[in-house]
């Protein structure tokens, strides 16, 4: 199953950096060496086994942008599932950015009217802490207004913190076909385990694809924080030639188990009843594996899938 995802935005807004961090195991610092993207860079990212995200990272330099709307219009904007438009929060040319954005929307409306639109207000780390919420709300309002009749979902992001994961998790979540089935099963799983919450991460990117919460938690940003932390840890492990398998974190108030679950997913189980021995939870996770393997996207016709192209 192939899903086409367009990544567009002005030159230097951060599209390739984002893509490299989420899909190509770059750490934020590594993105410094990325140069300007020439025309469109195609990458096929395998996600959850049989879902292939066909990422079109469109170079943002003006010459290319003009081209997209003119001669390449149909080619680029047809069959799009998701459009991700990246705005550099520090841009001095807001008018121009909006103009290009609207041209994209027009093309989408004509060629892929069912596409979901996401706007990422990027490089938020360059904005002062106390200003962030205000600026984001302002931009969000403007964008929602300008996007009509299409609906857009906005996120404030930065490659230097977990906000990037939140945005991409939400985007990718929209593309998973059997998400509600996954969630139902996850919920049953959590009830049997007596767990506070259970999360499912995609193995390579560590984006949260599903979760179930039996007990409310006050930090709504915990998922992306966890994604960020574990991904960094996983990358450090690979640097010394070890592959991340599992982790148990325990203190007096909780026990958390992060285990490789299926061939494409990693599960995290959080239990606040610390009297339940670890071995019991681990045994249950092991027993549930087969069941969740079956739930993964059913095998479609196998075609030659290209490997991830990275700079």
């Amino acid at each position: 199953m192939k899903k086409k995802v367009l990544l567009m935005g002005k030159s230097g807004s951060g599209k390739t950096s984002m893509r490299s961090i989420i899909f190509a195991n770059y750490i934020a610092r590594d993105t410094r060496r990325l140069g300007a993207t020439i025309d469109v860079e195609h990458s096929h990212v395998r996600f959850l086994g049989n879902l292939v995200l066909n990422l079109w990272d469109c170079g943002g330099q003006e010459a290319f942008m003009e081209n997209y709307f003119a001669s390449q219009r149909d080619n680029i904007f047809r069959n799009v599932e998701v459009l991700i438009y990246v705005f550099d929060v520090e841009s001095r040319e807001l008018e121009k950015d909006i103009h290009y954005y609207q041209s994209c929307l027009e093309a989408i409306l004509q060629n892929s009217p069912e596409a979901k639109v996401f706007c990422l207000i990027h490089k938020m780390d360059l904005v002062q802490d106390d200003q962030r919420e205000i600026i984001f709300q302002e931009r969000q309002e403007d964008l929602k207004r300008l996007s009509k009749p299409l609906e857009c979902t906005c996120f404030a992001t930065s490659i230097w913190d977990e906000t990037l994961y939140k945005a991409w998790s939400s985007i990718v979540y929209q593309l998973i076909p059997n998400v509600s089935q996954l969630e139902e099963n996850l919920s049953n799983f959590a009830t049997i385990l007596d767990a506070d919450e259970v999360l499912l991460f995609e193995k390579a990117t560590f984006l949260v694809i599903s979760y179930t919460e039996r007990i409310q938690h006050r930090d709504v940003h915990r998922f992306e924080k966890i994604s960020n932390i574990i991904k960094q840890f996983k990358l450090s492990c690979s640097k010394i030639g070890a592959s991340f398998e599992s982790m148990e974190v325990r203190n007096s108030s909780f026990a958390a188990f992060i285990e490789t679950f299926t061939s494409n997913m990693v599960v995290m189980v959080v239990m606040s009843d610390t009297s339940i021995p670890s071995a019991a939870t681990q045994l249950n996770i092991k027993s549930a594996r087969k069941h969740f393997e079956k739930l993964e996207i059913p095998m479609g016709p196998q075609r030659g899938m290209g490997a991830m192209t990275a700079k």
Binding site: D273, P277, A280
Partner: protein, 125 residues
């Protein structure tokens, strides 16, 4: 799958008439479930019990050419212990000194036959 709290409840049914605590261990000696330990460390007891079982099983294999160890009964200074195999796990009952071996053996046999079927299902899954 195991419901941890339900399993604990079942194990606590054995904790009457002098039997203080019951535990269930996996093949590696890690604690799977326990009942009745209060604030004492159940995992230490589990590790010791598992160790005792494995040594007896190994020696049985060597000296008697028979590794079908059924039950180990241990008399300690301040109490008695019974260990037996259930599915692929170990069940262990710890009692005070006043409890007789006959009673201990009866209880552990009853509990293990009760748990045998459900635990085998989990072992095979």
């Amino acid at each position: 799958m195991l419901k941890p709290r339900a399993l604990s409840d079942v194990l606590s049914q054995a904790n009457t008439g002098g039997i203080g605590s019951t535990l269930l261990l996996n093949s590696e000696g890690s604690l799977l479930a326990f009942s009745g330990f209060g604030d004492k460390d159940a995992s230490a007891a589990g590790a010791i019990a598992s160790n005792i079982w494995t040594s007896f099983q190994k020696s049985g294999q060597l000296s008697l050419d028979d590794n079908k160890l059924d039950c180990v009964l241990v008399e300690c200074k301040l109490g008695k212990i019974a260990i037996t195999k259930v599915a692929n796990l170990l069940l262990c009952l710890c009692s005070e000194d006043g409890v007789s071996f006959g009673m201990l053996k009866t209880k552990i046999t009853a509990l293990s036959s009760y748990l045998e079927e459900p635990l085998s299902q989990i072992a095979s899954s």
